[in-house]
């Protein structure tokens, strides 16, 4: 690679980082006027959250059931199968709830956000708003960002709760662990610190995934291929960042 090409690539990378940084700042500023339009934000909470509810509940249930099976298998080797409640609660609240919800959220709601905004760009709807003296940042981008940011922690909470019942279904109903032991172990060993960790993670993941989805859609090349590529980038970037940030946040909370 020649020096000129390398410098060109570096400059292009810097330019993109700058554009994204400025967009983030503009988006956060646009959230202030967007709050005056609660109707739009509620519609987006429904779009991002309500419409993802079934997939989140099903995934939570199956994840919990797997924890029930695996937990029973591993814990009984140490004669500690009564600790299944603790394992399920800590696993779901601190890690699996926020992380898996974030990955599913990126695939279900993030892609929908990116392609919707990208197509609005491709069909001149955003330009038309600008010409009508309506800022698309506060009318389109900010409500979608806020909707995703609010919906994601709620979905993570639903995922964890359903997951706990899934683990109980397998551990208690099928494999015979005592119901009272399952819940009381959980109650005595899970602290507010653990719940807070899960909430903080789901807030951060919600912000990151929504931000990526809206940014990619807003800057998508206004063609069929461009919107497709932007949607792919949303899923890839959201998933990698979710896992990276999960590691960093877990390290911080230890």
């Amino acid at each position: 690679m020649s020096n000129a090409v390398r410098h060109g690539t570096i400059l292009e990378g810097l330019r993109k980082t700058g554009v994204t940084g400025i967009f983030f700042a503009r988006l956060l500023l646009a959230c202030v006027p967007a709050l005056a339009r609660p109707r739009l934000i509620i519609a987006q909470i429904y779009n991002a959250g309500g419409r993802s509810l079934i997939i989140i509940m099903l995934s939570g249930l199956f994840t919990g059931m797997v924890i029930g099976l695996l937990g029973q298998d591993v814990l009984q080797r140490f004669g500690a199968e009564t600790a299944l409640g603790t394992l399920a609660a800590l696993g779901l609240l601190k890690e699996l709830g926020p992380v898996l919800t974030s990955l599913l959220f990126a695939g279900r709601a993030g892609t929908a956000l990116t392609s919707e905004i990208g197509l609005m760009r491709a069909t001149d709807q955003l330009t038309a708003m600008e010409v009508m003296a309506v800022d698309p940042m506060s009318y389109v981008a900010a409500p979608r960002f806020l909707g995703g940011f609010i919906a994601m922690p709620l979905l993570a909470a639903v995922f964890s709760v359903i997951g706990l019942y899934g683990a109980q279904l397998v551990g208690v109903q099928l494999l015979g662990i005592d119901r009272g032991v399952y819940w009381s172990q959980m109650q005595s060993s899970v602290g507010i610190h653990d719940v807070t960790e899960g909430i903080v993670k789901s807030l951060v993941f919600g912000a990151v995934v929504s931000l990526i989805a809206v940014t990619e859609g807003y800057h998508a090349e206004p063609t069929a291929e461009g919107v497709g590529l932007a949607t792919t980038r949303t899923v890839v970037a959201s998933s990698v960042l979710t896992l990276l940030l999960d590691y960093m946040l877990t390290a911080v909370f230890l």
């Binding site: 709807q125 600008e130 010409v131 009508m132 003296a133 309506v134």
Partner: protein, 281 residues
């Protein structure tokens, strides 16, 4: 010289110009789109901006609405330099304009009524009953009052453009910008759009800028025409004057000829040697 001809004289006073583009240079990725563009749009007239595809006609509209800024030169709208305005001042200028997009650019998640009501809801606090009357009046003007509850996906291309026109005039703009309003329309829709543009201009006194390459249609409605080529105005005057022009570029464009100063073929290496070279390779 008659009064009508006098209106088109280039020496008209400057304050008569609603949009004044002076010596504008603009490039995208080092490719010059405009090099020394001069266009004056006078109040109350229909001004046509014509030119082959790729001459920057849509870019001109984006410069006028303040979505792009000229590299040098001045784009003045309502007497104010668009390039020097803050974003709130730009929005204030845009509220006095309406724009009809080539594909309509209707909001796909709202029905026809809500699309037309959109600018009213965003910019005024009018009561619902008044918004309803206003929107229905504008829809009636474009003949689509009965389509108020349809979604944009249910409209034909011509209907979508008429809804977009109703939306563009709902705030009673002083200037209307039309981006390729005649492209892809059947003869009936085309006739209706041509008549509507004329009506908007005559009945409401709206200054109109029509960007198009449809010479025949423009000739029937335009008061003043500019022909763009190679980043600058190559001819201006009434459509009749352009038709009589002895400039080769104007003649080529008005008659739709392949031969002339405007090259039909994109620059390419020698045809014969490229074909033979492909064989050898």
């Amino acid at each position: 010289m008659t009064d009508k001809e006098n209106q088109h004289a280039p020496s008209a006073p400057a304050d008569d110009a609603v949009v004044d583009v002076r010596d504008v240079h603009y490039s995208i990725d080092r490719r010059a789109i405009f090099s020394g563009l001069n266009i004056r749009v006078r109040r109350g007239l229909i001004t046509a901006v014509m030119g082959p595809s790729g001459t920057g006609k849509t870019t001109l509209l984006r410069l006028i609405t303040g979505q792009l800024y000229a590299d040098s030169g001045v784009v003045s709208v309502f007497g104010r330099d668009v390039g020097g305005l803050s974003s709130s001042e730009t929005y204030a200028v845009r509220r006095r304009m309406g724009m009809l997009f080539q594909n309509g650019a209707l909001l796909t998640d709202s029905d026809v009524f809500e699309n037309v009501a959109f600018p009213v809801r965003e910019h005024t606090d009018l009561p619902e009953s008044l918004i309803r009357k206003l929107v229905l009046t504008k829809l009636e003007a474009v003949g689509l009052r009965g389509a108020a509850e349809l979604m944009p996906a249910e409209l034909s291309g011509g209907m979508a453009r008429r809804v977009a026109l109703a939306r563009a005039i709902v705030m009673d703009p002083e200037v209307l910008l039309y981006d390729e309003p005649f492209v892809g329309l059947d003869p009936i829709s085309l006739g209706v759009i041509v008549r509507l543009i004329k009506q908007m201009n005559q009945a409401l006194g709206i200054t109109s800028i029509v960007v198009s390459h449809d010479v025949q249609e423009l000739a029937t409605i335009a008061d003043q025409s500019y022909l763009l080529s190679g980043g600058t105005v190559v001819a201006s005057g009434t459509p009749q004057e352009l038709a009589r022009s002895d400039s080769e570029t104007v003649h080529q464009f008005m008659t739709g000829s392949e031969e002339g100063p405007v090259r039909f073929h994109y620059p390419a290496p020698d045809y014969a040697s490229q074909l033979l070279g492909a064989d050898e390779g």
